[in-house]
């Protein structure tokens, strides 16, 4: 199993190298040590069962998120229960004891729960990705500047960071949910191109831009409470990296502050940040779902996972246990996948543990 995965990853690396060589014939020679290191990373990753399971779960989540809305056999806007009252909260129909009915049952609008999950995964995946991809760079940038500049700049940035850390995310989200949607709605009406792009991103119909506004206010609230942790972590690492002689050397050859930050400090603080981002993707997915659960996110008919669980609460447990269980499991698996992946990435990206894995594998081979 791990052998095949290693071969697969190694092939992917070789393919990438081949593409680079097409543009620059000597690329592979110049970067031979880098390529070797990548292969070692692939090897270390393939040796970690946790990483494989995590990677697998994340892969499934990603694929579901990408193709989900297009393969869902029912639109989330079709209220089947209007024509056929029998479809109201139908229990799941799992083989072998049952066949023919909707696999995971239906919700109170008569919609197939499995089809709704496909939409929900897309929303959850996209929103968690956006939160981390907007929040993390913002925090990284501020942390870099604060750590490198020091003095007053550091003091100002870090005290603002403290203020945001002290601010309860939930309260902020509630405030945003009441104030922001109308304004975002106005913005979306004015900028149809952005609106259409975002709707496509979340896999929603154009009619749902009002719900999109609610979704974006959740996103904004979470981004605002997200960046401070990154700013703090990055600042801490920068403080130690900037004392290295090669940073002083970089200044002594007359590089600009900006170039030193991006070229010499950022790459040296990046690997713990990547691991942190992976873990945070899980937290972001869960948090955005819990905000929707509290009714701060999009409303009907948008099948957001947290919101669906919240609605099912009305009929819980007699008529709607299946919605809670299945939607909850999906959320759990998304978070679980990212967490496992992050855990193994931490080992793989750290050169020391990576070497340890290599050495252990060699010792095992010898024993045999």
């Amino acid at each position: 199993m791990s052998e095949t995965i290693y071969n697969l990853l190694a092939k992917a690396i070789d393919l990438y190298v081949k593409i680079r060589v097409k543009f620059d014939p000597e690329w592979d020679i110049k970067n031979s040590s880098r390529i070797r290191e990548w292969k070692l990373m692939a090897y270390a990753f393939s040796r970690s069962p946790i990483g494989i399971v995590g990677g697998f779960l994340v892969l499934i989540t990603a694929i579901t998120a990408i193709i989900g809305p297009s393969i869902a056999w029912q639109g989330y806007w079709e209220y089947k229960v209007v024509e056929n009252p029998d479809l109201w909260l139908k229990p799941p129909c799992l083989p072998p004891s049952c066949s023919g009915g909707p696999l995971l049952g239906t919700d109170e609008w008569g919609r197939d729960v499995l089809a709704m999950i496909f939409y929900g995964v897309r929303i959850s995946f996209v929103i968690s990705l956006l939160i981390v991809l907007i929040g993390a760079p913002l925090g990284i940038l501020l942390g870099l500047i604060a750590g490198y500049k020091g003095g007053v700049v550091d003091e100002v940035i870090m005290r603002i960071t403290d203020m945001f850390v002290a601010f309860p995310g939930l309260v902020l989200a509630i405030a945003f949910a009441t104030v922001l949607p109308q304004r975002i709605r106005g913005f979306l009406e004015a900028n149809t191109q952005i609106r259409d792009f975002l709707l496509w991103l979340f896999g929603l119909r154009p009619q749902e831009y009002g719900q999109l506004a609610a979704l974006l206010s959740v996103l904004l609230a979470l981004v605002i409470v997200w960046w401070p942790i990154y700013a703090r972590t990055v600042r801490g690492t920068v403080l130690s990296v900037r004392e290295q002689v090669f940073i002083e050397a970089a200044r002594s050859i007359g590089l600009s502050t900006w170039r030193i930050l991006i070229r010499h400090i950022l790459p040296n603080v990046l690997s713990p940040i990547i691991v942190m981002m992976t873990f945070d993707l899980a937290t972001a997915a869960l948090l955005s779902a819990s905000l929707s659960f509290l009714g701060l996110g999009p409303q009907d008919p948008v099948p957001e996972l947290g919101f669906m669980i919240s609605k099912a609460g009305q009929y819980f447990p007699e008529r709607s246990w299946h919605i809670v269980v299945f939607d909850g499991t999906v959320l759990l698996l998304i978070a679980f996948g990212w967490n496992l992946l992050g855990d193994s990435l931490r080992d793989v990206l750290d050169p020391r543990t990576r070497r340890a894995i290599e050495v252990r594998a060699k010792a095992k081979k010898k024993k045999r």
């Binding site: 002083e248 050397a249 050859i253 007359g254 070229r263």
Partner: protein
């Protein structure tokens, strides 16, 4: 403005004052240090650890980090185009154009002066790119040429190596190649051989001397090794506790040291021809620079100290043409 320099002077530092504002108090790391560097010469700054050699040279291009601060003085520098500027007063942006271009540094520890994430070729190219608009191909060729110039074998291959793939001596050569990439007028070498073994030390010093002749640049050499001074320098500044105590040309200094500190320092160098029981040393310790002694800073350890030494700072006296010393022993009263 007094912004004039003699024809042959590259750098004229006058009354440089650097202080560190620490929790324990204000450290007077460098007090009223003046020195000149002429064209095409090697000037040595000699002194024991913590005497302010490194801080002095860092202050020239304002590479002093908080809590350190340059409190006073001037550093006049003649640029390539003949313009004379005060390095301590020009705006940061201007100074950045001089760092690595007209004034370059070689640091003590070559293994940490290179960013572990980039090849040595990248380091050189980055230095060139920061100051000259040259296309990529020329930069690469120049990088290889520079590595050849610092006598790195197989330069074409080495250019693609990462710092960890090179030995200490090789790394220092790579650092030197980076420093001379833009043909600087002034190279500041901060104990360039301290972390290398003796045979490599000799090679690196030889290389620096060759490059100095080839490029016609001036070198400030910081060291605590008197052997290195005798071998390479034209003129020497002896520093003690943040002050210059004596300066002259290298022959004078070794023949006829004037300051008691210099005399004792030279005595402390073991002579390989004599069998000795104990190594000579200077009794006492370096004074704290937070509250430096009011008079001569060497007075507490000086066997020849008189009352005046402990009360008043000694004037700088030119005992012979070009040979200056800051000591009351030579003051005419």
């Amino acid at each position: 403005m007094g912004m004039s320099l003699d024809e042959k002077t590259v750098l004229k530092v006058k009354d440089l004052d650097v202080r560190f504002y620490t929790y324990a108090g204000v450290v007077h790391a460098v007090s009223k240090v003046s020195f000149d560097v002429y064209e095409k010469e090697v000037v040595s700054l000699v002194g024991e650890t913590g005497c302010g050699k490194t801080v002095t040279t860092r202050a020239i291009t304002r590479l002093i980090e908080s809590p350190g601060r340059i409190v006073g003085g001037s550093a006049l520098f003649r640029r390539r185009n003949g313009e004379v500027i005060d390095l301590l007063k020009i705006p940061d942006e201007e100074l950045r154009k001089i760092r690595g271009n007209e004034i370059a540094y070689v640091f003590q520890d070559p293994s940490s002066a290179l960013d572990p994430l980039y090849t040595i070729g990248y380091h050189i190219i980055e230095t060139i790119k920061a100051h000259r608009p040259v296309d990529k191909k020329t930069m690469k060729e120049e990088a290889v040429k520079l590595l050849k110039q610092v006598l790195i074998p197989h330069a074409e291959l080495r250019v693609k190596n990462y710092p960890h793939e090179l030995s200490g001596g090789m790394r220092q050569r790579a650092v030197i190649a980076t420093a001379i990439a833009n043909k600087p007028r002034l190279l500041i070498a901060d104990e360039p051989t301290t972390n290398l073994d003796v045979t490599v030390q000799a090679q690196i010093l030889e290389l620096l001397k060759d490059l100095q002749k080839q490029y016609g640049m001036s070198i400030i050499l910081i060291t605590h090794n008197l052997g290195v001074v005798a071998e390479t320098s034209d003129r020497v500044y002896v520093m003690y506790a943040g002050k210059v105590v004596e300066h002259s040309n290298v022959f004078e200094l070794f023949e006829r040291p004037l300051h008691p500190y210099t005399q004792m320092l030279l005595k402390a160098v073991p002579n390989p021809l004599k069998k000795i029981e104990r190594l000579e040393s200077i009794p006492g310790t370096v004074p704290s620079l937070i509250n430096p002694p009011p008079g001569c800073r060497f007075a507490p350890r000086c066997p020849l100290a008189k009352d005046v030494c402990k009360e008043k700072e000694p004037p700088i006296i030119e005992v012979e043409p070009g040979h200056h010393v800051a000591c009351w022993l030579y003051a005419r009263r």
